[in-house]
């Protein structure tokens, strides 16, 4: 069953040559409201093999270089026809426009934090947190425990010094702490201006080696995959 395979969302603007998609298919704009999608006709959805992922990313990178802002589509977004795509774009144009404004001119850098070989403990709980919790009633203790859990899920205190050094460059950030006892402690997705990649790299290279108990890897620049809005499908 053929359909439209979507690569990304951009704002309204001048037409730009789109080239081909991951299977060499010609790409075209599909407009809906104030936004438009880049899509190509495929006979069937592509399988998530490494080569296909790389080809999808290559197409997204090429498109991102041609427009002021692009929201990359997740791999595998395959819709039955143009009407369905137009309808979805129009229905979510407001959220998509706001997200496009946020990522305009920006790229994503990704930091992954690994515990050093001998250090596998989770993030420490501050002593004052324990003392404060002990003084509260059971309901408050439960709410506080949940609040701290949510905070920990989105924090990486192991690299606090690095986060502070990068702070002036960050337009936005997403932090996800890894679950489980493994060596991956968590991931930070950083949205920075495209012109700041060299400075970002310099700061990471200068600051990361001074961190103790953990190892940091960095990759990028990427199109802003982690800053795509969560809209209903």
């Amino acid at each position: 069953m053929s359909g439209l395979y979507v690569y990304g969302i951009a704002g309204a603007g001048i037409a730009a040559p789109l080239g081909g998609g991951l299977a060499g298919e010609p790409l075209r704009w599909v407009a809906g409201g104030a936004v438009r999608a880049v899509a190509g006709e495929l006979a069937e959805p592509p399988a998530p093999a490494p080569a296909a992922l790389a080809a999808h990313d290559a197409a997204v990178r090429r498109l991102a270089a041609q427009v002021p802002a692009l929201l990359p589509a997740r791999f595998g977004q395959f819709l039955p026809d143009e009407h369905t795509l137009r309808h979805w774009l129009t229905a979510h144009a407001r959220e998509l426009t706001a997200a496009l404004e946020r990522v305009a001119g920006c790229v994503q850098m990704t930091l992954r934090v690994f515990a050093a070989a001998a250090a596998t403990a989770a993030a420490p709980v501050e002593a004052e947190e324990i003392a404060a919790a002990a003084e509260a009633g059971p309901g408050t203790r439960y709410m506080e425990r949940r609040r701290r859990e949510v905070e920990r899920l989105h924090s990486l205190p192991e690299i606090a010094a690095l986060r502070e050094a990068l702070r002036p460059l960050l337009r936005d950030e997403r932090i996800e702490r890894a679950a489980g006892p493994g060596r991956l402690r968590g991931t930070a997705y950083d949205l920075i201006a495209g012109g700041e990649v060299a400075e970002y790299s310099r700061i990471v290279a200068a600051t990361a080696p001074r961190l103790t108990g953990c190892r940091v890897t960095a990759s990028g620049p990427w199109p802003p995959y982690a800053f795509a809005p969560r809209v209903p499908a």
Partner: protein, 69 residues
């Protein structure tokens, strides 16, 4: 690029494994979702996923989910 004991000069996109990890993470776990069902054709069998979730395999390969309750 990695920190740790002083060693070779740092470089972005260090290592094939790290690159593939980031590629899989970005493309299968991030990005705009337009379709609630993502159908992959794989070896002639259509696999329908109501929700995609990715377990990041780093040095440990599989990270089990933590039960927070």
């Amino acid at each position: 690029m990695s920190s740790g004991p002083p060693g070779p000069s740092l470089a972005l996109l260090e290592g094939t494994e790290n690159s593939l990890l980031d590629l899989v993470d970005n493309l299968l776990n991030r990005g705009v979702v337009l379709s609630g069902e993502v159908i992959f054709g794989l070896a002639g069998v259509d696999l329908i996923y109501a929700r995609l979730s990715l377990v990041l395999a780093a040095a440990d390969r599989v990270l089990p989910k933590e039960d927070l309750e």
